[in-house]
């Protein structure tokens, strides 16, 4: 089998390429999946992957690569898929992206690689994310574990705080450079938001575990239940335990509430609590698992991002009759991925747009009974360029609800910053670095990256930071004597 455009061969100008539409992924039926926690899409079959890969015209100047924060060689891996060399395709992706099975699922592709794919100008872009997922899953199933050739040990050791995508990527890079890498994680499972936040139906936990196991095989050490700042401070890791450098990848895990009346009523949760109970603690399997979660009939989720979509779809799967998204702007401004919004709509989530909560109303026993909201209209654009929502006077109304989940963003946890000497943070508590390419903080030997630097962002950006910082740490360890 040859690719549609062999490299070097000049594409024949007027060749009529049969118009193949963008291939959808087969999905679980919405009515069924809204009540189970199994993954929503089944992924491409071999035929679909082949058909979709044939759509790529193998651009000489592939814009798609510029759209990918870690610059995967997209046309090349797609070509390999087309040629049927799926394992090779996976290897190509893995050169730049350590977690393709995860990114293929959760990357906001429509704003990145697929946004700039040339096909998108006239028709729909190549489904790069779906192909990435296909090749990565294929490799997981058919590939054999081969110990990569490891360089001789350098005798340097690096402490990595946090096991989210940023920390995992950095650990993988460092171990392959011959350094010792230890990941310290506060929770009992590695993966960060990938295991405690993003639900099983969107990212099966076995996929994350596979990547963690792989790192452990390469020699990365994992210390779980280890809250840096409590059991050991960053200073102690360096001075007492002899770590030559530290990478802070502790994420943006601080819940934000709205500061409206009624927020401490029973039945009000941060999205972090709601999702952690369900995902990390497997409360959706209660009482098989010990951690409980309430199976409410009416659940209101405040917010319009991925976290809100994950929460509201979890509520449906826990048996809600009415699951609402309450969002103060309009449909178009919701920051969640388009696909997630569509999936939520298909599953029966009810969207209350241009609506903002003003207070939560309790019953006599202290449980949530309703949420009072006010209607909003769009006014002048604000600093983000989006039209600012302004309340319409006197338009308050109530929505009957048993539970309210706050998914309006997350801040940075102050534990590390407050327990580390000489570490500078900005007014939001984000660690200040000299540049995102190196991740150097104000403290010598300490680097930072991912959500703790940028504020809540994306998996791929955290991974990119992990990779950049690993290179910077490598350099630092080699020339440690030279100034900071």
């Amino acid at each position: 089998m040859t690719s549609p455009k062999e490299e070097g061969k000049k594409p024949e100008k007027k060749e009529k390429r049969p118009k193949i539409p963008r291939q959808p992924m087969p999905l679980q039926d919405p009515a069924v999946r809204a009540r189970n926690f199994d993954e929503v899409p089944y992924g491409y079959t071999e035929e679909l992957a082949k058909l979709e890969s044939s759509r790529c015209i193998q651009c000489k100047k592939p814009f798609c690569i510029d759209g990918c924060p870690v610059r995967i060689n997209i046309p090349l891996f797609i070509k390999k898929i087309y040629e049927g060399n799926i394992l090779e395709a996976a290897q190509i992706m893995k050169k730049d992206n350590f977690l393709p099975a995860i990114c293929g699922r959760v990357c906001p592709q429509e704003d990145q690689c697929e946004l700039v794919c040339i096909l998108g100008k006239k028709e729909e872009p190549v489904a790069i994310g779906r192909l990435e997922r296909y090749a990565a899953d294929y490799e997981a199933e058919h590939g054999k574990f081969e110990m990569p050739e490891m360089p001789p040990k350098t005798g340097r050791k690096v402490a990595i705080v946090g096991s989210g995508p940023g920390g995992l990527t950095c650990a993988g890079e460092l171990i392959k450079m011959g350094h010792d890498a230890t990941v310290f994680e506060a929770l009992h499972k590695a993966g960060g938001v990938l295991v405690y936040g993003i639900p099983e139906f969107r990212l099966p936990k076995a996929i994350v575990q596979r990547e963690v196991d792989y790192l452990a095989k390469l020699g990365v050490e994992f210390k779980m239940n280890f809250v840096v700042g409590r059991i050991r401070t960053v200073d102690e890791l360096m001075e007492k335990d002899g770590y030559d450098a530290v990478f802070l990848a502790n994420g943006a895990g601080l819940p934000v509430f709205m500061n409206i009346p009624g927020e401490n009523l029973n039945g009000v949760y941060s999205a972090n609590e709601y999702l952690t109970r369900s995902n990390l603690m497997k409360a959706y399997k209660f009482p098989e698992y010990d951690t409980p979660i309430k199976r409410w009939k009416n659940v209101s989720v405040i917010g319009g991002g991925n976290v809100a979509m994950d929460s509201v779809r979890t509520a449906l799967r826990l048996g809600a009759d009415n699951a609402y998204i309450i969002y103060r702007r309009s449909h178009n401004e919701m920051p969640a991925r388009k696909e997630e919004i569509e999936h939520a709509e298909e599953e029966g989530v009810q969207f209350r747009m241009l609506t903002n909560p003003t207070r939560i109303i309790g019953d006599k026993d202290g449980w949530v009974r309703a949420i009072e909201c006010i209607k909003m209209e769009l006014g002048e654009p604000d600093e983000s360029g989006r039209r600012r929502p302004v309340p319409i006077k006197g338009s308050e109304f109530e929505i009957e609800t048993n539970a309210v989940v706050m998914a309006i963003g997350s801040g940075s946890n102050p534990l590390i910053a407050s327990s580390t000497t000489e570490l500078k943070v900005n007014k939001w508590g984000n660690i200040i670095v000299d540049s995102e390419n190196t991740g150097r903080t104000s403290k010598k030997g300490v680097f930072a990256g991912g959500d703790i630097v940028t504020g809540a962002a994306t998996v791929i950006l955290a991974m990119g930071a992990g990779r950049n910082v690993a290179a910077a740490i490598n350099e630092y360890l080699a020339y440690k004597a030279i100034g900071w």
Partner: protein, 282 residues
């Protein structure tokens, strides 16, 4: 994995009271008075907080004392010497603020005496005159009398049923110390026990403006400030018990809200115990 190196059964009655000595050198090294751990027994287990009642630096162990009130603590009670606990995270929480206040009255109710012990010890160590009041429903479940006696300048005991010490509540002794026959100047009160006891202690000390520190036991999950499950209102502001606490100025705490929040999973807790007993009998 954390090994249980000793087990002591304080009471086999329902609810049982048990104490473990556990091998955890790193945690022992860092523990300060007022701090706790969060543990998970096994893969499908819940994360629950327990205070570190003792530590032994030389042997690298910590002691946890617990009451069997639900599924997890009952499971825990079944473990024996030589068994392992899967996960223990700690020490967590902000340590007790220790300084030389003068006279400190340490009040412990029920198993609250266990978390009180390291605090009394540290207060004594800082040169305070430590008067302790410990209480229990009945004599058989009074814990840590010896230890508290050793770290206090004076130890007063009450039981609800009068089977030992003074017949009455810890607050009765406290009232005596503040404004009764044995009246003494008090600089600080530390109270740990059931929420209702802490609330009552605060009610007694408030009119006299005696600073009162309480240790709250809200529902927790992560213990790092990530989930907000442990939140309480203190002085009208929302605070997280796992990082800002567990100790707060008792006169500022909204105890009613806290107790209401503690009851959130009563129904599920019952199901957990029932399912569990059902499985055990099979």
């Amino acid at each position: 994995m954390y090994e249980i190196t000793e087990k002591k059964v304080w009471s086999d009655e329902v609810p049982g009271i048990k104490e473990f000595k556990i091998m955890a050198p790193l945690i022992a090294e860092k523990q300060q008075a007022g701090q706790f751990v969060i543990l998970r027994i096994d893969e499908d287990g819940e994360r629950i907080p327990l205070t570190i009642a003792h530590k032994d630096l030389r042997n690298g162990t910590i002691n946890l004392l617990f009451q069997e009130v639900g599924k997890t603590t009952m499971d825990l009670g079944k473990l024996k010497k030589g068994d392992f606990i899967m996960d223990i995270s700690g020490p967590l929480g902000t340590p007790t603020h220790i300084e030389r206040y003068g006279t400190v009255v340490c009040i412990g109710g029920g198993i609250g005496v266990a978390p009180l012990h390291p605090i009394a010890q540290a207060m004594k160590g800082a040169g305070n005159n430590v008067i302790s009041i410990i209480g229990a429903k009945t004599k058989d479940i009074l814990i840590y009398e010896d230890l508290m006696s050793a770290t206090s300048d004076k130890l007063l005991i009450t039981t609800d049923d009068g089977s030992y010490g003074r017949h009455g509540f810890v607050t009765d002794e406290l009232k005596d110390l503040i404004d009764g026959e044995r009246k003494i100047p008090i600089d600080l009160v530390v109270a740990i026990g059931p929420p209702i006891m802490m609330k009552m202690v605060c009610r007694v000390t408030e009119p006299y403006k005696i600073k009162t520190v309480v240790s709250l036991n809200t529902i927790m999950i992560d213990g790092t400030g990530m989930c907000g499950a442990c939140r309480v209102s203190v002085g009208g502001k929302t605070r997280f018990v796992c990082v800002d606490g567990p100790e707060f100025d008792g006169h500022q705490v909204d105890f009613d809200e806290m107790m209401q929040r503690q009851r959130q999973y009563l129904k599920e807790e019952k199901i957990a115990v029932e399912t569990h007993q059902h499985l055990c009998c099979k």
